[in-house]
């Protein structure tokens, strides 16, 4: 029973002044901004490698992918954090401003996102979750963190 409930829970985080959410089942842990090692010849949205207790992970700066500007005042009061996402034993980090809360989502809260065709971020957005406090965008972690792409490269 409790498992069922888990799947309806989403972790909400912020980037700039926008709210986003991902299923909590995809989250392995949340860590304070660690020290990064930058990598040569990588796309701009790749922040670097981190050492998570001996395991080395790549971290993506999804702000750059979603085209969200960092709000300066906000950044000063809240240091950013890394959400470690796990998909089929592949763990990848994503840098976000702040993890705000966990939302319990019922089916009626989920709405189609009226996406604009020419928006480059369009492919990363799945739905809108309508909460009392704010409209939250549910993002496609798989697409955003290029997990499938990485998996294909692994298999090749």
């Amino acid at each position: 029973m409790s498992d069922n409930k888990m799947e309806n829970r989403y972790m909400e985080f912020t980037l700039g002044d926008q709210f986003f959410a991902i299923p909590i089942t995809a989250v392995r842990e949340v860590i304070q901004r660690p020290e990064f090692t930058t990598m040569p010849n990588m796309p701009a949205h790749f922040e670097g490698m981190i050492n998570l207790r001996g395991k080395i992970l790549g971290v993506f700066n999804i702000r750059k992918k979603l085209n969200v500007k960092k709000i300066v005042e906000r950044a000063e009061q809240s240091p950013d954090v890394v959400i470690v996402v796990e998909h089929d034993s592949i763990s990848v980090g994503m840098l976000v401003d702040e993890v705000t809360r966990v939302i319990q989502v019922t089916p009626d809260m989920i709405k189609d996102a009226p996406l604009k065709d020419d928006d480059p971020s369009k492919k990363y957005i799945l739905n809108i979750i309508q909460t009392k406090e704010a409209l939250v965008l549910q993002v496609d972690v798989n697409e955003l963190l290029e997990i499938d792409k990485y998996r294909k490269q692994l298999a090749a």
Partner: protein, 601 residues
């Protein structure tokens, strides 16, 4: 089927597989043994165990075959049947079939196998007739409703697990979770709903480790825990411990860690003996098929090597040995003409050399004539007739894909694949292949392979764009650039340096790693010298930090490999660092420079 019976079957398969490799060793010993009695008794015992075991867990096919095998061995023991090469071949064929059966049973517990042909062959020996040794053409067949992949298991042992049920479950689970509660309709949703192909995971392999090794390891881990609590006491602010005491404790911990590292690395070390046995068999079979008389001399086979290295070494060595028997040695008649001993000799030597394992395969055959190789390579369009190549480079063409000196493809050789596999596999594990040959005297193939894949000696260095690690084994030497003259903008070469009379092209590591980025104007202080396809090349770095051992880890999750990226490691400050191999990055780019240099000189 209940779990217990299945469990028993699995245990039986594991044990039987081990027993069978023992048996194979015995069979090979039999040939040329003056006193076969003891060996026959040993074989009989193993065959009997196998029969009993297979019957009790219900593998009737295995039991039937081992029963016949047992009869034959018994007859041999009593002297009722003569121990001929043909009988040994039959015994080996039975053994092969049993190993094959074990492998298929491992993947599909209900697999069956038709052994009637082999059984008839064994019975033939028993009744005194000598049936023509038939090739074991009957394939193991799977008669179940199992996945279609099972039928192809012989060709793709690694891929079978791709379609296995447990692999697909996590993918389904994740989809279920991301789908949960979605309103249908958005096109993106269908994209996620498509099950991603799970990565081809290797089967979790089993290594047999002696109990004493594990106990020793446990002892030291116990020590470590004691040290940890000591450190905790020292760290307690009320304890008034001295810095001296702390330094001593840290010293102790360092020592224990070293020991534990050595011990735990030792767990991965496996004896090279079984591989040697397989090679002995390969040589025997190949030589028999070609009607040649060949003897294998082995040195250094009591060595232990890292399991992953051992696994990668098997295929290349099989190809080399087959090649030695086929191309490397002449037939008896040819040998007699050149007044050589009619029996050819292949020497297989394993030796430790610093941090590398060196495997040498030497034959006393006719050797390789570079002119002949050159001619063949031109025929196969691997090089053009106008290409200028040194003899050494010509010889390396033997390892090129598609190269073969044979006009006709036979069972043994001719596809031009084998030696390509050798080079590819050996280079994959960071090794090198060398070939030398003297016409009329024989050839020598030398593999140099890092002893362990997990820990390497490495150089830590900086460029203007961060810190990197390069495996020391690749570096020929380091030179101080301030003491050398750098010639810049030389046409066709770019930057180059002169080192002891040689002209070396100079590359900046920074630029190699990020070709699309404007390099910084700061000058580099040091150059590392690498050997890329026989050409010495200098790669400049900003500063050398130190040389240390690093534990190679995979590149981070989510980071796709790029050319020359070996992996990553964590340095003393806890930061992950990229391990790069400039030789890989430069391979292919240098050849031209090399030949330009050669022509201009």
């Amino acid at each position: 089927m209940d779990n217990f019976a299945e469990e028993l079957k699995k245990i039986f398969i594991d044990e039987a597989t081990l027993n069978l490799s023992d048996v194979e060793g015995c069979f090979l010993e039999l040939e040329g043994s003056a006193e076969p009695k003891d060996i026959l008794i040993r074989i009989f015992r193993l065959a009997h165990n196998l029969k009993g075991g297979s019957m009790s867990v219900g593998f009737a096919d295995v039991a039937a075959l081992t029963h016949e095998l047992e009869n034959l061995v018994l007859a041999l023991q009593k002297g009722q049947v003569d121990l001929t090469t043909r009988v040994i071949s039959t015994l080996l064929a039975c053994n092969d079939r049993l190993i094959e059966m074990m492998q298929s049973l491992k993947q599909d517990i209900d697999a069956t196998c038709d052994n009637s042909e082999l059984i008839a062959q064994v019975k033939g020996h028993l009744s005194g007739e000598a049936p023509a040794a038939k090739s074991a053409s009957v394939k193991v067949t799977t008669v179940t409703t199992g996945a279609p992949v099972a039928a192809k298991k012989e060709e793709h042992p690694g891929l079978v697990f791709f379609d296995d049920e447990p692999e697909e479950k996590p993918a389904e689970k994740v989809n279920a979770s991301s789908d949960a509660g979605h309103a249908p309709g958005s096109p993106e949703k269908s994209k996620t709903a498509k099950a991603p192909t799970p990565p081809a995971k290797a089967e979790d392999e089993v290594v047999r480790v002696s109990l004493s090794r594990i106990e020793l390891l446990n002892d030291y881990v116990g020590e470590l825990i004691v040290m940890q609590s000591m450190l905790q006491t020292i760290a307690n602010p009320t304890s008034h411990s001295s810095a001296e005491k702390l330094a001593k404790s840290i010293n102790d911990v360092t020592k224990i860690c070293k020991v534990i590292q050595t011990l735990s690395m030792g767990l991965r070390m496996l004896p090279v003996k079984p591989l040697v046995q397989k090679l002995t068999r390969t040589l025997r079979d190949t030589a028999t098929a070609l009607g040649k008389d060949v003897r294998l001399e082995v040195q250094g086979d009591q060595m232990d090597i890292d399991k992953s290295v051992l696994d990668q070494l098997g295929d290349p060595l099989v190809h080399i040995i087959r090649n030695s028997a086929d191309h490397g040695l002449e037939t008896k008649e040819e040998r007699a003409k050149t007044s050589k001993n009619p029996q050819g000799v292949v020497q297989l030597t394993f030796l430790n050399q610093g941090n590398s394992l060196v495997v040498e395969v030497r034959d006393d055959g006719p050797g390789i004539d570079p002119a002949f190789i050159r001619k063949k390579a031109i025929e196969k369009n691997l090089i053009s007739a106008s290409d200028i190549r040194t003899d050494k480079e010509i010889m390396m063409l033997i390892f090129a894909a598609g190269f073969s000196t044979k006009a006709v493809t036979t069972d043994v050789s001719g596809r031009g694949v084998g030696m390509d596999v050798v080079k590819t596999n050996v280079e994959k594990i960071g090794g090198e292949v060398e070939l030398s040959s003297e016409v009329g005297k024989g050839s020598l193939i030398r593999l140099k392979i890092p002893l362990s894949l997990a820990v390497v000696d490495a150089l830590v260095m900086t460029t203007n764009r961060g810190r990197f690690v390069i495996p020391l084994s690749q570096v020929q030497e380091t030179v101080n650039l301030n003491s050398l003259k750098i010639t810049s903008k030389m046409i066709g070469i770019g930057e180059c340096i002169e080192l002891r009379g040689d002209v070396l092209p100079l590359y900046r590591l920074e630029k190699l790693l990020e070709p699309n980025r404007e390099a910084s104007v700061e000058t580099d202080s040091t150059a590392l010298i690498f050997k890329v396809q026989e050409q010495m090349v200098a790669v400049s770095i900003k500063e050398l930090i130190n040389s240390q051992q690093v534990v190679i880890k995979p590149l981070g999750n989510g980071v796709a490999a790029q050319v020359g990226w070996v992996g990553s490691c964590v340095l003393g400050d806890g930061l992950p660092t990229l391990i790069v191999n400039p030789v890989d990055m430069l391979t292919g780019k240098i050849t031209n420079a090399n030949h330009k240099l050669e022509r201009s000189s």
